[in-house]
Symmetry: C2
Subunit: 590 residues, 2 copies
C-alpha cells in the first residue's frame, strides 16, 4: 500500500486554513499515486485547541469541514481505491460524559467510512485532555475497532495510545494497551496520528518506542506527527514508518513540511516476540530528562542542532501565525540576548530583526562594545540610546518619596523597566514582536524584573538553563564566530549596580543549574535533592539547596505574568507546571 505521511502545520482554530492545507495535500499525494494519506492528530482543528473545544459551535465547524473534505475524497476515490485518515473532533455518541471525541476519521469513496477514538487521554504535564475528551474505553466498542481499508485490516492509534506504558511518579498511568488490543484483533498495519510535542531526546525515544511495538507484534507502523509551533509547544513533524521487524523504512525530514510516500507491505509477521524494550520504556521519564540535559551541556551536536531547530521553528511560527514579520529585542552585551538575537535572525532573517542597546548608569563600556560587535558581526540593524537621563528624571520624580532610603532593588528595577518601556514603544509603533531574553535559571530564581526584562511576546530561551544557553552559544559559533568570544568568556552580570556579577548573589551556574534540575524537573524536596546531587558527585550543602528552593517558590508570581516560553525540556515553566502563587514550601521537618 502506498501511504503518504502528511506532516502538516495547522493553526489552532483556523478551520478555513487547515481544511485548505488538508485538501491541497490530498490532491497532491493522490496525483503522486498514494493509496492512503495520513494526517496528524486533530489536524483539521490544530493542536492543542484548549478551551476552543468547549464552544458548542466547534462541532458545526468541524462537521462542515468534514463535509467538504469527504466530498473531495469521494471525487478522487471514485476513480481508484483511495483513503484518507485525518484527525479532528467528532460528536460523542449518546450517553458519553463529554460532548466530543478526539477522533481519526477515515474517508473513502463512500464518504465517511469510519470514525475512531483516541483510547488513552493524557492529563499530565502540558496535557489537559480529560477536560474535553472521553477515553476510548468509555465509548461503544466500534470506536476503537480495526478498520478494513481495501483488503487490509488497519488499527488506528492516536498519539498517547502508543505510550500506554507511561509511568509517572512510580505509577503506570494506563491499564489498557491499545497497540496490543489492535494486534490481537487481527490488524496488519498500525497507524498513529500524533501531535506529540518536542522535547530534547524525545524523537529518539519515540522512534525506539514505535520500532519496538512493531517488532513486538510483527506489524508495520506508520507514524505521523504534527509540524510547527503553537504558543509554548513545538512539534517536530517527525513522521516515519517501520516494518514488522522494527526497521525504519522511510521518514520525513524533521521540522520541515516534507514529502514521504512509502510503499508498505502490510503483513502481520507470525511468531513475533515481545521485545525487551517495553520493560525498559517503563523507567521514569526523569532518565530521559537527565540524559537530555547532559546532552546539551556536554555539547552533543545532534541534541543542540535539534534544540536550535525547535526554537527557530517556535519563533518563526509564533511570529507568522500571529502576523508579525519582524522581531525586536534589547541587546545588553550579555550571553542571553546575544543568543536570542542569533535565533531570531535564523527564524526571521537578519533584515527582520532589530536590536536595541540602552546602556544605563552601571552598564560597562565592554558591554556596549560587545553588543555592538554582535550586531555588526551578524549584520543586524542596531539602534539605541542611553537611558541615563531618563533614569535620573524618574529618580528625581520619586525623590520626595524615597528621601532617606538606600539605593536598592527599586532603583535597579527602574532601569530594567525604562528599557522595556522604550522597547514596547518601538514594538507598538512599528509592529515588531518583542522577544524576552530570559533564561530558565534566572526565571527559576526570580533574578529578572517583572514588567522589565521579563517583558516580551515570547521567550525563546526561557526553557534553557544558563549552562545550556552557553552550550547553544558555542553551537551557534561552530562554523564562525557569530557571538563574539568575549560575550561567552566574561562572567555573567545583570549590571544593575556597580561591578555586579551574577555569582555574587547566586551559586556558580554549573551548580545552580543542577540544583534547579532536581527541584524543577524532578520535583524533589530539599532532602531528596541533597541525596541525588551527592550521589552524582555534586558538592552542595543542604542550606544552599534550601536557599535556591526558597527563591524558586518566591518567584512564582513573576512567572505567572510572564509570556509564553518555548518548551524544549521535559518540564518547562508554563502550562505544564502549575504551582500556586500563595503557598509555603512544604517542609514539615525543618
Amino acid at each position: 500500500m502506498k501511504i503518504a505521511l502528511a506532516n502538516i502545520n495547522p493553526i489552532v482554530g483556523d478551520f478555513h486554513g487547515n481544511l485548505e492545507l488538508v485538501t491541497d495535500a490530498v490532491s497532491k499525494f493522490y496525483q503522486e499515486g498514494a493509496d492512503l494519506i495520513v494526517f496528524p492528530e486533530l489536524a483539521l482543528v490544530g493542536y492543542p485547541p484548549q478551551d476552543l473545544l468547549l464552544r458548542p459551535s466547534i462541532l458545526n465547524f468541524s462537521n462542515l469541514q468534514l463535509e467538504v473534505l469527504a466530498k473531495h475524497v469521494q471525487d478522487l476515490a471514485s476513480k481508484r481505491d483511495f483513503h484518507v485518515i485525518v484527525g479532528t473532533v467528532c460528536e460523542s455518541p449518546e450517553g458519553s460524559a463529554t460532548s466530543i471525541v478526539n477522533a481519526a476519521v477515515v474517508l473513502s469513496a463512500e464518504g465517511i467510512l469510519a470514525k475512531r477514538a483516541k483510547s488513552l487521554i493524557p492529563h499530565y504535564d502540558v496535557f489537559n485532555e480529560r477536560r474535553y475528551f472521553a477515553s476510548g474505553s468509555e465509548l461503544p466498542k466500534e470506536w476503537t475497532a480495526p478498520v478494513k481499508l481495501g483488503n487490509t485490516m488497519v488499527g488506528i492509534l492516536i498519539c498517547e495510545d502508543s505510550w500506554h506504558d507511561t509511568v509517572k511518579y512510580g505509577r503506570e498511568l494506563y491499564q489498557e494497551n491499545p497497540t496490543q488490543r489492535l494486534a490481537h484483533a487481527g490488524c496488519e498495519l498500525l497507524i498513529n496520528l500524533s501531535a506529540s510535542p518536542f522535547q530534547t531526546g524525545k524523537k529518539s525515544l519515540r522512534r525506539q518506542l514505535i520500532a519496538n511495538a512493531a517488532e513486538s507484534y510483527g506489524m508495520p507502523i506508520v507514524y505521523v506527527n504534527q509540524l510547527g509551533a503553537q504558543d509554548e509547544l513545538i512539534f517536530d513533524g517527525d513522521s516515519f514508518a517501520v516494518n514488522g521487524s522494527g526497521e525504519l523504512i522511510g521518514e520525513v525530514e524533521s521540522f520541515t513540511r516534507s514529502e514521504c510516500v512509502l510503499d508498505i507491505e502490510c503483513i502481520r509477521k507470525e511468531g513475533a516476540q515481545k521485545s525487551k524494550y517495553m520493560e525498559q520504556a517503563q523507567e521514569q521519564d526523569a532518565d530521559v530528562s537527565r540524559t537530555a540535559r547532559f546532552q546539551l551541556v556536554s555539547g552533543d551536536e545532534g541534541a543542540l542542532a535539534e534544540v536550535h531547530q525547535a526554537i527557530v521553528t517556535g519563533i518563526r511560527d509564533y511570529a507568522a501565525k500571529n502576523r508579525f514579520s519582524r522581531a525586536l529585542l534589547g541587546l545588553s552585551g550579555g550571553i542571553d540576548s546575544a543568543v536570542v538575537a542569533c535565533l531570531a535572525v535564523d527564524a526571521l532573517g537578519v533584515e527582520n530583526v532589530l536590536v536595541f542597546s540602552m546602556p544605563g548608569k552601571f552598564s560597562s563600556s565592554h558591554s556596549i562594545d560587545d553588543a555592538e560587535a554582535l550586531a555588526k558581526t551578524n549584520g543586524i540593524p542596531y539602534k539605541g540610546f542611553s537611558i541615563k537621563f531618563l533614569q535620573s528624571t524618574v529618580e528625581l520624580s520619586l525623590k520626595p518619596y524615597f528621601e532617606g532610603t538606600e539605593r536598592g532593588i527599586a532603583e535597579e528595577n527602574i532601569q530594567a523597566r525604562l528599557r522595556s518601556l522604550s522597547l514596547m514603544a518601538i514594538s507598538n509603533k512599528f509592529a515588531h514582536m518583542l522577544l524576552a531574553t530570559g533564561n530558565k535559571s534566572e526565571l527559576a530564581v526570580g533574578h529578572s524584573t517583572l514588567y522589565g526584562d521579563m517583558c516580551g511576546a515570547l521567550a525563546p530561551i526561557g526553557d534553557l538553563y544558563k549552562t545550556e544557553v552557553y552550550a547553544l552559544a558555542r553551537y551557534l559559533n561552530r562554523n564562525s564566530e557569530r557571538i563574539p568570544q568575549n560575550i561567552i568568556d566574561k562572567p555573567p552580570s545583570a549590571e544593575l549596580r556597580p561591578d555586579q556579577k551574577d555569582e555574587d548573589l547566586l551559586p556558580p551556574y554549573d551548580v545552580l543549574d543542577k540544583v534547579l534540575h532536581c527541584l524543577v524537573e524532578e520535583d524533589h524536596s530539599v532532602a531528596e535533592a541533597l541525596d541525588v546531587l551527592k550521589a552524582s558527585g555534586v558538592e552542595v550543602s543542604k542550606e544552599l539547596i534550601a536557599e535556591v528552593e526558597q527563591m524558586v517558590w518566591c518567584a512564582e508570581y513573576k512567572r505567572k505574568q510572564f509570556g509564553p516560553i518555548l518548551r524544549v525540556s521535559q518540564k518547562a515553566f508554563g502550562i505544564g507546571r502549575r504551582y500556586p502563587l500563595t503557598t509555603r514550601i512544604p517542609d514539615f521537618l525543618s
Copy 2:
C-alpha cells in the same frame, strides 16, 4: 450527635500552619462538648494545591501531619467517644493510576479509623483534579463505603460528590450518584467536606442542592466548606446542616471563621421521596450565571453584599498569606480605581492603603479633583506627581525613531507604563502590594495597557463587568457617599488622548457587557450570541458582535501576562478559561 463544623482557612502547602489550625480547633470543640468535628476538603493541605501534589515528598509531609493529629485525637478520645473527620491526601492503594487519593480521614480513639476517597473528580472550569487523583470508582470498594461512628452509620462525601448531576454542554458529567449509593448502603447521616469556590449565586444553589438531597433520602446532611482566598479562588466558608426533611438546623456566618456546634439527630426517615429539585438542578449552569449577572447589575443588595465580602476576603487573604500588610494603587479619578480603593480600605484598613495620582498630558482637571475628593472623603493617604515631564523626556528619547509617524497607541501606552513604573518603584521600595484596577469588560476587549495599567499583584475587580462595577459603587455608597457622585455620573474615559471617551471606541457598556457575557460566560459563537441577545430584547447587530469577538480573541496574549483575578462569576479570565494565544476565530461560514 454533637457535631462541630470547623470552617478553617488554611494556606496551600503550609503543613505546619494548617496542622496547627486543625489541632487547635480539635482541642477547642472537644472542650465545647463536640462528639465529632468536621473539617473541609484537603484542610491539612489547603485547596487547591495544584502541582504541589505531584511532589513525591507531599505524602511524607501529610503522613507526618496525620501522625501528630491522630495522637492528639487519641489522647482526647481515650476519655470519651470522640471523632474527627479531616480532608487530606493519602497514598493510593496498589494498582491505582495515580499516587494519591483526595481523602477524608476519620480519626478516633483507635487512631486512624478509616480513610475515604472523593468519588467524583471534577476536571472542568477551575478544576483540574484528574491530573492528581483517581476517582472513587477506580479504587477498592472500602474507600467509598460508609463508616460506623459509635452507633451511627455515616456516609462521607467530598465536595463534587454532592454535585453528581452536574451538566456541562448538555452532557451529564457523572454516571454515578454517591449520595444515593451511601443512602442505599444504610447511612443515617451524610457529611460533605468541601472546598467549593465562591461565585455569585452559588451559595443559595448549594444550600438548595444539599437540602433537596437530604429530603430525597430522608437523611440529615452536614456540609463544611473551606474559608478564605487562595490566589484567584475565594471560599466563603459556608457551612451548615439540614435535617432529613431538608430543613436548615444550623449554620455558620459566611466569610467568617465562626463557630457552630450542632446537635443532630441521626435518623433515616422512612419513605422519603425523591424531590422534584433534582431534575431542576440539571439545567445548565448558564442559568445561574445569567441570574447572578442580573442580580448584580439590578442592584440586588444581597448579591452585592456577597460579592463585596468575597472581594474583600480575596484582597485580605492574598495580602496576608503573601505577607503584605499594605496595598497601593494608582487613582485616575475614574470609577474602577475608586471602587478598588474602597475595597482595599475595607480589606486592609485605611491606614494600610496608599493611593497615587499621576496625571499626564490628557488628564482632565476634574479627574484630578475627583481622585483627590475620593481620597479625602475616605481618609486614604494620597500622594502623586505629574508624569508630564517624564512623558516628554521619553518622547524626546524616542524622537529619532518616531520621526514622521503620527501619535497613536505607542504614545498612549507610554503614559500608562510610566505610571506603572512609578507605582512599581514605590511598591518595591516600601513593600506595598500593587493592585490592578482593570475590570472584566476592559480585560475582555483588551482596552488596557500591558505592562501599564495591567500591572499589579492582584486584580480585585477583574471579574466584574463595567456595569457591575457601577452597581458595586452604588452599593458602596449605600450608607454614605464614599465614592463621589461625580465619579459615578461622568462618562468613563481612559484619558490617553484629548477628550477621549470609552464609548468613542466601544459600544455602550450596557450593550457591550451583554455581548461579552454571551461570548465569555456562555462560549457562544457570533450567530448563537445574536439569537440569544435578540431573544432577550437587546438591540445589537451581527457586525457589532463579530467586532467584539475579534477584540476578545486578540487580547488573549495580554491576559496571559496578567496577574491573578479574584473570581466571582461562573467564568473568570484565569485558570478556569484556557484559550490559545495563537489562533483564529472559528467561524467557518463567514
